[in-house]
């Protein structure tokens, strides 16, 4: 029971991170029908920027841990968002009218560029986040141990997701994003600046990815320049699991994948942990390509 509970909370925390990254995939896919392969590397950029800002500015010493980390998160999200916009401008915008697979190859190229740029700037070795920033306390809930950080990560990701969902559903700009996702040309005819919408999507998605990156850094402590693509692939799996292009789907898929993975690691085999996500991905694409919450669409996958 204790193992189950520990793995469950662990899975939910990791799942929250997957969900945040998955949102970036799903939003870009929703509007552009493009799998942004470089998204996982934007996440890595978030992790590394977080480390740089943390060590160089020492905000957490000046403002205290909570306010410091929040400010840090805002900075990281803005910076990664800007990188996302640049990525779109340079690598995807010239390919809007080309065959879809050209853009996919370009995304792949961008992913290689990002991960190697990080390696060239920070070096190929594993970097370590400072340990003592946030609490390492472990709560005791009905006799079961729950590290506070896990709760913080889960809550933060849920708050960010709800904020995003509210933004998309309730505001005018959010409506514009939804309209562009359904039909770009019709949206344009309705006076929506689709280019602006795409820019916004490429800001929000990577910003959330950057936030996830910072959380991974703070939670796990160790970061490496290649970590982006494995997180990216798993988050993509989460997006597919929930139904790509569907924002609540990304949240459900992320949390579900996190739980499946950590329970699988505990009860099936730890050594096969990374393979579990891929098996889930392949199965879902074969059995139900539209995902759990995805609607049946005419488009063939």
């Amino acid at each position: 029971m204790e193992i189950f509970f520990t793995q469950l909370t662990n899975g939910l925390a990791v799942g929250g991170i997957y969900a945040l990254i998955a949102l970036g995939y799903t939003m870009v896919y929703g509007v552009l029908k493009l799998i942004n392969f470089a998204h996982g590397d934007l996440f890595t950029i978030g992790t590394y920027l977080g480390l740089s800002l943390l060590t160089s500015l020492a905000i957490t010493d000046k403002l205290g841990p909570v306010a410091g980390v929040i400010l840090l998160a805002v900075m990281v999200m803005c910076l990664v968002g800007i990188v996302g916009i640049l990525l779109d401008r340079v690598a995807y915008k010239p390919l809007r009218t080309s065959p879809r697979l050209s853009a996919v190859v370009s995304a792949l190229g961008a992913s290689i560029v990002f991960s190697n740029a990080i390696m060239l700037v920070y070096g190929p070795s594993t970097k370590v986040y400072p340990h003592d920033i946030l609490t390492t306390r472990v709560l005791d809930i009905f006799g079961l141990p729950v590290p506070v950080m896990r709760l913080v990560i889960l809550l933060t990701s849920i708050v960010l997701m709800i904020a995003l969902y509210g933004f998309i559903q309730k505001t005018k700009i959010g409506t514009a994003i939804r309209a562009a996702a359904i039909d770009q040309d019709a949206a344009r005819l309705m006076g929506i600046n689709v280019d602006r919408v795409i820019m916004l999507v490429f800001f929000i998605g990577p910003a959330l990815g950057g936030a996830a990156g910072l959380m991974v850094g703070l939670y796990y402590g160790q970061i490496k320049f290649t970590m982006g693509w494995i997180y990216g692939l798993k988050a993509f799996t989460a997006a597919i699991l929930g139904g790509i292009g569907n924002i609540p789907g990304a949240m459900v898929g992320g949390l579900l994948l996190g739980v499946i993975e950590s329970l699988g690691a505990a009860y099936i085999s730890l050594a096969w942990k990374d393979a579990i996500a891929f098996v889930v991905l392949i199965l879902i694409l074969i059995v139900r390509p539209t995902g759990l919450l995805g609607e049946r669409v005419a488009e063939k996958i």
């Binding site: 493009l34 799998i35 340079v90 690598a91 010239p94 390919l95 080309s98 065959p99 879809r100 697979l101 050209s102 853009a103 996919v104 190859v105 370009s106 792949l108 190229g109 961008a110 992913s111 290689i112 560029v113 990002f114 190697n116 740029a117 390696m119 060239l120 693509w229 692939l233 993509f236 597919i240 085999s269 050594a271 096969w272 990374d274 393979a275 891929f278 098996v279 991905l281 392949i282 694409l285 074969i286 390509p289 063939k300 996958i301």
Partner: protein
């Protein structure tokens, strides 16, 4: 009949063949080994080209087939002492069989989804190898002591005498080029290209698209598996690290940058991606960074690759009488 461009092209090809044939006379061991790698990756690129270039299927798990070929070779060679060159067809068959099993359910997926699934596939294979599946893959350490190939009692050691191995690989590359050229111009090749450019029209013309796609996968995997034999026998030691996702990316880049669907293009791709960085040793760590940028730039300005395939020609006077309906 022959215009200037074709003449120039032929001249370049002839010069290249001449260089390749005479290279062992003036290049040292190190550079011959580089050319060995170029040849190995050229064959891998060509085998991927059948799936990706002719078939138009975005397959990024080719390293999985390569790995299965190499491991089959290593295991049978070590366990039963069978000479490696005899194992080669079997290695190809194992890889082809694997392709048949795994490609069957995913073949219908659309381009970008297929890409992701095949990435997952190569990772699953790598994890399986690391976890020492069936207890015969040697886990993360891999397998040591694979014997070198021998022809008529003459052993060709790839490490000590790269020159000798060079001839073996050149022969294999030559056979590959000839066979794949014939394949490209066969009924099969035509059907693949047709379904690549318009799947619905191809299906409407009576082409069994799923069957042809699957056949392309199996042929590509078969050839990659055989190449795996030559790789394993060349360095006599294999480990899961040699068959990572990046290996697949490199093969993918070779085909896409060189020119997918074009045999000379793929060979050029192998030279640029495997050979060229060796000339700029100091820039080795920038290698992937530069290739990533090249990939983006190519997609924007020249998505068909450096040497795209020539548009097929069907001169009326050379066709069979029965094929001409006027």
């Amino acid at each position: 009949m022959i215009d200037k461009k074709t003449k120039f092209r032929r001249l370049v090809y002839a010069a290249f063949v001449l260089f390749w044939m005479t290279a062992p006379l003036y290049l040292n061991k190190y550079f011959i080994d580089v050319l060995n790698n170029v040849a190995l990756y050229a064959v891998l690129g060509l085998s991927l080209n059948i799936i990706l270039g002719y078939g138009g299927m975005f397959h990024m798990g080719h390293a999985a087939f390569y790995a299965i070929g190499a491991y089959t070779t290593a295991i049978i060679n070590i366990q039963f002492g069978v000479p490696v060159l005899l194992i080669m067809p079997l290695a190809g068959m194992m890889a082809g069989l694997f392709a048949l099993v795994v490609a069957r359910p995913i073949i219908h997926l659309r381009g970008d989804y297929l890409l992701i699934v095949t990435i997952g596939l190569v990772e699953i294979v790598r994890i399986a190898l690391i976890n020492n599946v069936f207890g015969i893959t040697g886990g993360a350490n891999g397998i040591f002591g694979i014997s070198s190939p021998s022809i008529f009692g003459y052993t060709i050691n790839g490490i000590v005498h790269p020159h000798h191995y060079y001839y073996l690989l050149t022969a294999f590359l030559g056979i590959t080029i000839v066979l794949f050229f014939l394949l490209e111009h066969s009924r099969f090749g035509r059907a693949l290209r047709y379904l690549c450019s318009d799947e619905i029209a191809a299906e409407g013309s009576g082409i069994n698209t799923a069957g042809y796609k699957l056949a392309a996968f199996v042929i590509g995997a078969f050839w990659a598996g055989m190449t795996g034999t030559l790789y394993a026998a060349k360095i006599t030691f294999i480990s899961p690290e040699s068959f990572s996702f990046w290996e697949s990316v490199v093969m993918f880049m070779i085909v896409i940058l060189g020119g997918s669907g074009s045999i000379p293009g793929v060979i050029l791709g192998a030279i640029l991606i495997i050979g060229l960085p060796e000339l700029f040793q100091g820039l080795q760590q920038y290698r992937l960074f530069i290739f990533g940028i090249a990939l983006v730039i190519m997609m924007i300005f020249r998505p068909q690759g450096i040497i795209p395939p020539k548009p097929p020609k069907y001169p009326v006077n050379r066709l069979d009488k029965s094929e001409v309906v006027l």
